[in-house]
């Protein structure tokens, strides 16, 4: 039966049925409800995990790494400053090939203190070797967490996976949720090189100049293989549970002259802008990027491209705009909008598309009107 829950509750509910062995976490707004709810599940016997209340996010990730090396299924959740504090360990998790699943509730970075949605926190993690996916509804958050364990733990992937949801805009919004019994959709975890007291081995030892690059290449090879594993997993999910997901979500794109690209809830709201523009006779489409790592192949030939970045790389530009430009050899109209929860409506998005200036960058609310 459907119920009405927040994005945070949906994540916690998915974790409950995915049954991790270890959850190690530290609370941070707007993520706290996730780990609080999981702690409740553990305390009242609904989830037979070990919940480790650590003293910092760095330790949360370190605990997940330790549990992962011991062969356990691991989950944590964080946001913003907490994710930054984990950064040393997130690199370690990927290098150690541990399929840790983490929910990151996207929030801006301080100062000034601002608890609202922005993607710069997760995008600063883009070179760590983590898979990254961005969701846009409460249901998608739930479904994607279930798929995340299966994808990350797949033998051809074995990399950590970050599921991103927009702070407040999705974490605290309430929408209908249809829950499932995953059963063998999430098979038992079998990691290849776990600790065995009878057969002691070293972990995290030196890899010299003759070997280190091979480990790096192995990460990249798995990242490339992950595209197939993601597509297979999403196909099986669709067969089993009736809800379909792609590497991207395309809306009225096939015959579009102009396509707007965004992550998360802005990518969903853009669909409403597309409908408005179609009424005006403008052939617009929207392409919501679900997966950011591995970065999907996009077909943008012959289309004008408008990219909305809810992030920024200072001295360079929007991270998403840069990625689209360099991966597809296309010029784009780069819009910087929604930083720190700045209100961006479907009317605003329609305006970005209507008044696009390909090749330029526009800061919403700063440079006057488009």
């Amino acid at each position: 039966m459907k119920k009405i829950v927040t994005g945070n509750k949906a994540v916690a509910e998915a974790v409950r049925v995915a049954k991790p062995d270890i959850v190690a976490a530290y609370p941070i707004t707007p993520q706290t409800e996730i780990v609080e709810t999981i702690a409740d599940y553990v305390a009242n016997g609904q989830l037979a995990s070990q919940y480790i209340a650590v003293e910092s996010e760095h330790s949360a990730m370190a605990a997940c790494i330790g549990a992962g090396i011991a062969g356990g299924r691991t989950f944590t959740a964080t946001s913003s400053q907490g994710l930054l504090y984990m950064h040393e360990m997130t690199n370690w998790a990927a290098g150690a090939r541990l399929p840790i699943v983490m929910a990151n509730v996207n929030r801006s970075l301080a100062p000034g203190w601002n608890l609202w949605a922005e993607h710069t926190d997760a995008l600063q993690e883009r070179d760590t070797g983590w898979l990254q996916v961005y969701v846009s509804t409460v249901q998608e958050a739930y479904d994607t967490i279930l798929m995340a364990f299966r994808i990350a733990e797949h033998n051809d992937v074995l990399l950590p996976l970050m599921v991103n949801l927009d702070g407040f805009t999705l974490s605290h919004i309430m929408q209908p949720l249809d829950t499932v019994e995953p059963g063998d959709f999430i098979p038992p975890i079998h990691l290849p090189e776990t600790i065995d007291p009878k057969n002691p081995r070293g972990y995290g030892t030196i890899a010299g100049p003759a070997d280190y690059f091979r480990f790096r290449w192995e990460i990249e090879r798995s990242m490339r293989d992950a595209v197939r594993v993601i597509e297979e997993t999403q196909a099986v999910f669709s067969q089993r549970f009736g809800r379909s997901y792609g590497l991207t979500e395309e809306y009225r794109c096939s015959d579009a002259d102009v396509v707007v690209i965004a992550l998360g809830t802005l990518g969903k709201e853009a669909e409403v802008a597309v409908d408005i523009l179609r009424e005006e006779g403008i052939n617009a489409g929207s392409l919501r990027l679900r997966w950011f790592r591995p970065f999907p192949e996009l077909d943008l030939a012959g289309k004008d491209v408008v990219v909305i970045d809810r992030d920024y790389s200072f001295g360079f530009g929007g991270v998403l705009a840069h990625s689209i430009r360099s991966k597809n050899m296309v010029n784009v109209f780069s819009v910087i909008a929604g930083l720190g929860g700045q209100e961006v409506t479907y009317d605003d998005i329609a305006g970005f598309i209507r008044n696009r200036r390909i090749g330029e960058e526009y800061w919403f609310g700063v440079n006057g009107h488009v």
Partner: protein, 161 residues
């Protein structure tokens, strides 16, 4: 927030889609708080705040002295107000019901404060926003205390245009 969630659940029971969006600021007890609900027969893709509502519910009239709560209400839009007597707002259709009185009558009081979240769902059902059955099942899915149902039923019958 609870009222918004209940309304969204009732809409879901009616077979509609709904999104409930609390607006987060620096909340403290007694401060004005706002939450929004969108209801549609299609999946809801809008996350930005509601600027032009069809209906505004005022749980505490005193807030109207400090906040322009009717700002953005569509022309001909509806107002539901917690009041013992009829109120008129030019250009709008106003309903009223004494939610506080109903909560006190049903002894629906927590820490000295009358609880309006459940009776208001009954009043909304009374104005036809959701069905009475869906309002009841939404309340039952969150609260087991039958006083909530009695208060909602009272508000359903007592709401006046």
């Amino acid at each position: 927030m609870t009222a918004a969630r209940l309304l969204a659940m009732a809409a879901l029971h009616d077979g509609n889609y709904a999104t409930a969006c609390p607006f987060y600021g620096a909340e403290r007890r007694g401060a004005p708080v706002v939450s929004y609900v969108r209801i549609d027969s299609h999946p809801i893709r809008i996350y930005s705040q509601i600027r032009n509502p069809d209906l505004i519910v005022v749980l505490d009239q005193s807030v109207m002295q400090s906040v322009d709560v009717l700002h953005g209400l569509k022309t001909g839009g509806k107002i539901l107000i917690n009041s013992t007597h009829k109120k008129d707002f030019f250009g709008y259709v106003t309903s009223y019901v004494d939610l506080t009185g109903i909560a006190l009558r049903e002894n629906l009081v927590v820490a000295g404060n009358p609880i309006l979240n459940t009776p208001v769902i009954g009043a909304l059902a009374g104005t036809g926003i959701v069905s009475a059955d869906s309002a009841k099942s939404a309340i039952r899915s969150m609260f087991s205390d039958e006083r909530n149902i009695r208060a909602a039923e009272a508000a359903y019958h007592e709401v006046r245009v």
